[in-house]
């Protein structure tokens, strides 16, 4: 009888020791990102005598407190948040390229330009007001050029950022595949793959934020990683991604199959939207503003005449925000500005009626001002929308993270309680061994 009790007590010591190890591991990793709380699962050992007392206790497995659904929620929320945040950064940059509403923005410069034409009307034969008109036009050209250059810079920054994301993603995909492989091997060898699983989950989380990846747990312990429904990691296989196409139709494609990987979340998705939709739209709207300015001004000038009754020269040449320029011939000879409304002499000599008509075009529906105002309003609305999304998705992501943490995280208070009961069970088993020993000594001394 003594052998059996000692065996059972010894199994208790072993099992409580392992349980204590698990608690130590949990406490040590209380702040480790991606760490999932572990529990030592205790089960009774069969065997023992014919009466069925049992053979003691064993640790059947160390299980992780993971919840696949909660983890998937976190991944999805992080992906959506990263997508909006990436777009927010680009749109904020675009908004900063236009100092609106303010006294230094293009809107104020356009106003100053239109008003300067009345200066010509007040003194058509003087060069000074004509020089002012040319100066105001040059300010506008400079501002449009700078804004266009800033949009181009944002575009190329976003592209290089996207390039880094794609190459980081390729590294992560191959790491996940390799961990999948190691997990299968560990399981085959009968060792505990939990720390490998934790590592792999942390990588999958990064993939969710980067490219909106979704992971599915497979029965063999591996994960399948998909983006937009296309499997990028399956078992030990990892696809690699590449960027194809030009801005406007830039796409992330699979190197293996060549198909486009449709991203619906993650930083890459936000950057793609900025590169393909938002920034090209802004650039073309800014170009339209520049072209409307040139057309409006040059058309009005074409209806007028110089002081000699001859046709004047257009004030603007070129097209687009980057290509617009003040006609160098007019800069060299400001009298070429057709300020007169008549070609009849002598009435054209000191006539500023066409310049007066020009000043009144400041709010024409086909002019640059209204196009610019609605462009800025649209940009502001898109950024405001994105800001709101970031705010909402931050809450969603925090909530999802908390829900997961509540299940998978380490609560030191709970661990301490667990530690106390493990300690007591250990002490009880140890006490039993000393009791059996006393019993044996009593028996031996009586013999």
């Amino acid at each position: 009888m003594g052998d059996m009790a000692l065996g059972i007590a010894s199994s208790g010591l072993d099992a409580q020791q392992t349980a204590m190890d698990t608690i130590a591991q949990n406490l040590a990793n209380a702040n480790t990102p991606g760490y999932v709380n572990q529990t030592a699962n205790l089960t009774t050992l069969t065997g023992g005598d014919a009466l069925g007392v049992g053979g003691g206790v064993q640790v059947s497995a160390i299980t992780q407190a993971s919840d696949g659904l909660l983890a998937a929620n976190v991944q999805q929320a992080q992906g959506a948040l990263a997508q909006s945040t990436a777009l927010q950064q680009v749109l904020s940059g675009a908004q900063a390229a236009f100092a609106e509403p303010g006294t230094n923005g293009l809107s104020a410069q356009l106003s100053a330009f239109w008003q300067s034409w009345d200066g010509i009307a007040q003194n058509p034969s003087s060069l000074a007001p004509r020089t002012q008109v040319i100066g105001a036009a040059q300010n506008i050209v400079t501002t449009l050029g700078q804004a266009s250059a800033q949009l181009t810079q944002l575009q190329s920054n976003a592209q290089s950022q996207l390039g880094s994301v794609v190459s980081a993603t390729n590294t992560l995909l191959s790491q996940v595949a390799s961990l999948n492989n190691q997990i299968i091997a560990a399981k085959g060898a009968g060792t505990d793959p939990n720390s490998l699983v934790d590592q792999r989950n942390a990588l999958v989380d990064t993939l969710s934020s980067d490219i909106g990846a979704v992971a599915t747990n497979m029965p063999d312990g591996t994960v399948m990683v998909r983006v937009g429904g296309i499997a990028l990691v399956q078992g030990s296989f990892a696809d690699t991604l590449q960027l194809t196409g030009a801005p406007g139709s830039l796409a992330i494609t699979s190197s293996t199959s060549g198909v486009t990987v449709p991203t619906t979340g993650g930083q890459a998705s936000g950057l793609l939207a900025a590169i393909n939709q938002y920034l090209p739209a802004y650039e073309s709207q800014l170009d339209a503003v520049a072209n409307k300015l040139a057309t409006t001004v040059n058309t009005q000038l074409a209806a007028g005449y110089t002081a000699t009754g001859a046709a004047g020269l257009p004030l603007f040449t070129g097209s687009g925000a980057a290509g617009l320029a003040v006609n160098p011939a007019v800069v060299a000879d400001p009298t070429q500005i057709a300020a007169s409304s008549t070609s009849t002499l002598p009435d054209a000599t000191n006539n500023g009626a066409n310049a007066q008509a020009m000043a009144e075009l400041y709010n024409t529906t086909t002019g640059p001002d209204q196009a610019y105002q609605s462009f800025i309003q649209g940009l502001g609305a898109q950024l405001q929308d994105t800001n709101n999304q970031v705010q909402a998705q931050t809450s969603v992501a925090n909530a999802a993270q908390q829900n997961l943490q509540a299940v998978a995280g380490v609560n030191p208070d709970q661990e301490m309680v667990q530690m106390l009961s493990t300690q007591q069970a250990y002490q009880a088993s140890a006490k039993l061994i000393s009791t059996v020993s006393t019993m044996m000594q009593a028996l031996l001394s009586s013999v």
């Binding site: 908004q95 003194n123 058509p124 908390q402 301490m416």
Partner: protein, 309 residues
């Protein structure tokens, strides 16, 4: 929050960090509003208001320009009015000279009549100078047809057919002067011509007085005097026109100023931050920020671990 969720220290820490971050960004927004005094600092603060502000600013700039145009126009018209008064008083002295031909003291006195002719000549010369009056280097009676000169040395009009205008309201253009032909006339019914064969009224009077024959003196006192009076009433009607334009210009200047004020108050209604509200909110946000910081300093202290010494 209920008891459904088990709060681990990392949940609590994450929540605190996110609360503190939210607090900081609220503080930054409020501080920007207070320091700039503007509720809309970037378009994304309020896109529709931002577009509105740009429109109002453009309207304000235009109203400022209308007011400036009107001010310039008023300077022209005021110079025109005072010039007209000088023209009229000069013409009155010419008229006086012609009327005095028949007076007892002068009648038959050739030298005295020659003196009257000289007086009329000097009136004509004075008028030619007045007709070329300039504002800022521009001859005000030359229309748009000549920069510096309305009448040449022979008293012939060299200006244009239309007076310049100033835009003082949308689509509203008011002439800032009248043309030299409207004021002084041309040819034989005009005041200034000295071209032989087509003498103007004043030159004709002078010539008739100098001829000194009874017929020519009679001509001066009848037909010539009538022509002079016709010309004077023409000058008077143009002076009245300038006066009317001056009044219209003034009322449009007032209108532009009123529009500026209306737009300005509309702008501050849209753009200005509600400072008392913003300052109160900032105080609240700062309080909760400090509370969050205090909580963060406590979060790791209370745990069962401490009680298991």
């Amino acid at each position: 929050m209920g008891g459904a969720i088990s709060y681990t220290p990392s949940i609590i820490a994450d929540q605190l960090v996110s609360n503190i971050t939210a607090n900081q960004s609220q503080q930054a927004t409020l501080e920007e509003q207070i320091s700039t005094g503007n509720a809309v600092n970037v378009p994304s603060d309020n896109p529709a208001a931002a577009a509105n502000i740009m429109q109002i600013n453009a309207g304000l700039a235009r109203s400022n320009q209308y007011a400036a145009n009107a001010a310039d126009g008023l300077s022209w018209l005021s110079l025109g009015n005072s010039t007209m008064n000088q023209i009229l008083s000069a013409l009155q002295s010419a008229q006086q000279a012609v009327l005095s031909v028949s007076s007892a003291s002068i009648s038959g006195n050739t030298a005295a009549i020659q003196g009257l002719a000289t007086q009329v000549d000097s009136v004509r010369q004075q008028l030619t100078q007045l007709a070329n009056t300039q504002y800022g280097g521009q001859a005000i009676f030359a229309g748009t047809g000549n920069v510096t000169t309305a009448f040449d040395a022979n008293g012939n009009y060299v200006g244009g057919g239309n007076a310049p205008t100033r835009t003082v309201a949308p689509g509203e253009q008011i002439p800032v002067s009248v043309t030299g032909t409207a004021v002084f006339g041309t040819g034989t019914t005009g005041l200034l011509s000295t071209t032989p064969g087509s003498l103007g009224v004043l030159a004709q009077i002078s010539a008739d007085l100098r001829a000194g024959t009874p017929a020519s003196l009679n001509q001066a006192m009848t037909t010539d005097l009538q022509n002079l009076q016709n010309a004077m009433s023409q000058v008077q009607s143009q002076a009245a026109q300038l006066g009317a334009n001056y009044q219209r210009m003034q009322s449009f200047q007032q209108q532009a100023t009123d529009t500026q004020q209306a737009l300005q108050s509309e702008l501050s209604g849209i753009q200005s931050a509600d400072l008392p509200q913003a300052i109160t909110q900032l105080g609240q946000v700062q309080n909760s920020y400090q509370a969050a910081l205090w909580a963060a300093s406590k979060v790791t202290q209370d745990s069962l671990v401490q009680f298991l010494g």
